[in-house]
Symmetry: C2
Subunit: 130 residues, 2 copies
């Protein structure tokens, strides 16, 4: 996390105070998920070195893997030209998706499955969805 | 585009009729940009084989590269678990970013430049921003 601490790029949050975050595996370069963060979630990510997001449905900050144990260690945070989207470059434990798949993008638009299921959600979550 | 034509996954558009689209290079697996699409933009992408998006600022559909010539040939469209985010897997001509960089994510959050600039925007665009 050496080069993400100074925070020189001024981020642009939307009217709800959110910024979309793309999560990408640092080894495979697979895109794992898209989520949202608040300023506080980004700060917590930088301070802890683990991915934090803001859940729009539960209206609270969540540390990825806090229930499943499938944490995301963050190596770098990247920002786009308009400073209104981030990428967390991570090392993903086990799998990113609450369905048990390695990536949330486990299907093509035609429904073809293109990623492995690495765990059974019923055995990992008390609730059906993280 | 063989496996994106049947459209079996029912997409979930937001209240503005938009869905976020992550664009990823098919060879390098670099994430190039995040943009938004309407149903019509997705359909045009599937029909033409080239990336189409919806510009929220200009309030119209745009074919990526229509001005710069830097088209994105789309090989596959992927959809996430909630069917509310897409990935366009593309072959990017020249560079994706209107700044001339290969990817819009050419900086870390601390401002370090991590991607090449491949063209001079002033020589490519009549306007300052595609």
């Amino acid at each position: 996390m050496k080069d993400v601490e100074s925070g020189l790029v001024e981020l642009s949050f939307d009217e709800q105070g959110l910024i979309p975050v793309i999560t990408q595996d640092h080894e495979t370069k697979d895109v794992l998920m898209l989520a949202y963060a608040t300023r506080e979630a980004v700060d917590l990510t930088q301070k802890s070195g683990y991915a934090h997001y803001y859940s729009r449905s539960r209206k609270k900050i969540w540390k990825k893997g806090e229930e499943s144990g499938n944490l995301q260690k963050v190596y770098e945070i990247r920002v786009d030209c308009d400073a209104d989207t981030l990428i967390y470059i991570v090392s993903q434990q086990c799998a990113a998706c609450h369905t048990g798949h390695w990536t949330c993008f486990y299907r093509t638009i035609s429904g073809k499955i293109i990623a492995d299921r690495l765990f059974e959600p019923d055995k990992v979550y008390n609730k059906s969805n993280e």
